[in-house]
Symmetry: C2
DNA sequence: ATGAAAGCGCTAACAG
DNA sequence: CTGTTAGCGCTTTCAT
């Protein structure tokens, strides 16, 4: 603090009332006359009084602050969610402390510690590498998870309907008589696993055997654009030795883009010889050449649902009803030029 | 707060010492014996005591919290800077409250208000549309700006050397005997204006006349990938009616990418007939086809410099030495396949 | 309708 | 080396 701030006491003195009255007026909790109100507000303005939230928080035992844990703010999808959360929260009177965990358990724990010390009112936790294990215990703090495996019960979880998205893609391939393949990275979050599960199930339903040979796990892991990969080139070539019309489910838009580039290197025509579908609806899928058919995730709705659920938890002080509470957000297919 | 937290008083009672002693031990400010220390620490552990930063902040008049104002966290470049700032600050004991201003003056003001109420110790403000005008007054709060016009004096500003970058690009074009052009969007931040200034100056030095006809301002404004534009197509076509070997300075990587796509639509060969250079060093420039020759900004260094400067300001409580204090971060050219 | 006063959790004199 | 105490700015009974 560079210079001493004016406090509620100063305001009280200047307007000739008690601090109690000033407080009532600030919080508009009634029990004051119109005239005093007008007078005090004027003084507040003149003095440039600004409430000290640290004091309010200390006194009332809530900080109007929410912690957001995100694996990588640099990832477009996470960034979109964080941005929406922050906006929603701010317009509802909460500030957000955003923490970049880098998918590291240690950092996550350290952050939760600090957030607890700051007495945040609640936590939004986005994804985590190990879907199964509950992350650093959130210590009884109201928490909502985004994109987490509903493995741990008693948690509120918001997520796109990845399973449904996977189904839509796989059915699209099958409906167009495209021999279905799936290419993914080795990052195994709950969301990717759901997509894979859908792929496998649909294929099984269609009596397709040897499903695992139709799945390629690239030896990379990344939140960002990926480098060209020999492994991918080989896999694509192998496909084209036996198929004339194939369709590939890229586990996300980045992978889909990799596939498209590999195809171009191998002079495979998209979409004539090969259809590619991505997942996420990244801004990039709309601008690449060809643009990528993809499953669009509704980040706004994910964020808003998470915030609503969190604030409910906080304000109702519900001791979390028993059983996991999973909120599935619908997804939609957006068809572009990467598919026939 | 779901359940009552254990306070310093509880710890004091449980370990049979006074709160003062506990406080001293927590803050390691001396004046206690080894044995008491050991005992108290043990109790702290057992009870799961966690310092209440609101109380600390109220008492000591500093919150160990920094506000970061960013135009759009969804923009890769800003996200990278924010991430690095947050990391640096966290490892130095500060939490960050990140605020997405959407380049809106109103939101910026609202945020500064709230941050002030939270008694943040300082502010990092990244860019703003109107480079000239000082943003919502930061009210005597220690502040560091990133990528702001050094117009207002008495401010610390950290920025890439955009002017230098512009010079490097323009000279590159000239050195390769490419007829130089510049294509930009109508977003006029201080950083883009510096790049343009360099372009104009170098051309003037080379006695090139009619410089303005070599600059095309696209009627779009965006932090993200841009849609195809007729305006751009027309401009490119016009260039190719009179030049055989042209080089275009795209004001940033997104624009450069647009140009490349337009060229492909018009069957202009890159880099044989047309060289394109971008600016920023986005991850995308490394993965597009062709990859984009670009000026790389060192986001880590920008972020670190800003944080160091800010914390210095805060801790030294320097009453900002007179005169604007501009820290220029070097940039470097990264040559890829979009240029000959 | 308003005021007095207690106390949230903590730090920092000051006194021993 | 340790304890007592005042007080940071605010909300909230409880009086009046």
């Amino acid at each position: 603090m560079v210079q001493k701030k004016v406090s509620i006491k100063d305001v009280a003195k200047a307007s000739g009332v008690s601090v109690a009255t000033v407080s009532r007026i600030i919080n508009n909790t009634g029990r004051f006359s119109q005239e005093t109100q007008k007078r005090v507000i004027k003084i507040i303005d003149e003095l440039g009084y600004e409430q000290n939230r640290l004091a309010v928080g200390l006194r009332s035992n809530q900080s109007n602050t929410i912690g957001i844990l995100v694996p990588d703010i640099t990832n477009e999808f996470y960034a979109a969610i964080v941005k929406k959360c922050e906006q929603w929260l701010f317009s509802h009177g909460y500030s957000s402390i955003i923490c970049n965990t880098e998918r590291s358990r240690e950092r996550e724990k350290a952050y939760i510690q600090v957030l607890t010390e700051h007495r945040v009112d609640g936590l939004i936790v986005i994804s985590t590498t190990d879907a199964g294990n509950g992350s650093g215990k959130t210590d009884g703090m109201p928490t909502v998870f985004i994109d987490r495996d509903p493995h741990t019960l008693n948690e509120t979880i918001v997520a796109s309907d990845h399973y449904r998205g996977g189904k839509i893609i796989t059915n699209f391939l099958l409906d167009h008589n495209l021999s279905p393949y799936l290419i993914m990275t080795k990052t195994k979050t709950s969301s990717t696993m759901e997509r894979v599960r859908a792929f496998k199930e649909i294929l099984a339903n269609h009596k397709i055997t040897n499903i695992d040979s139709r799945i390629c796990v690239l030896d990379v892991t990344s939140d960002k654009f990926l480098q060209p990969s020999q492994q991918l080139d080989r896999y694509l070539k192998a496909i084209f030795e036996k198929e004339k019309q194939a369709g590939i489910f890229g586990i996300n838009d980045n992978v889909a883009y990799m596939i498209i580039q590999a195809a171009q290197r191998l002079s495979i025509d998209i979409p004539k010889q090969l259809s590619v579908i991505g997942f996420d609806g990244s801004s990039f899928s709309e601008i690449s050449v060809p643009r990528i058919t993809t499953i669009v995730q509704d980040t706004t709705r994910i964020a808003d649902s998470a915030c609503v659920a969190l604030i409910n938890k906080i304000e109702n002080k519900v001791i979390s009803k028993k059983g996991s509470n999973v909120i599935k957000i619908p997804v939609r297919l957006c068809v572009k030029e990467s598919t026939i």
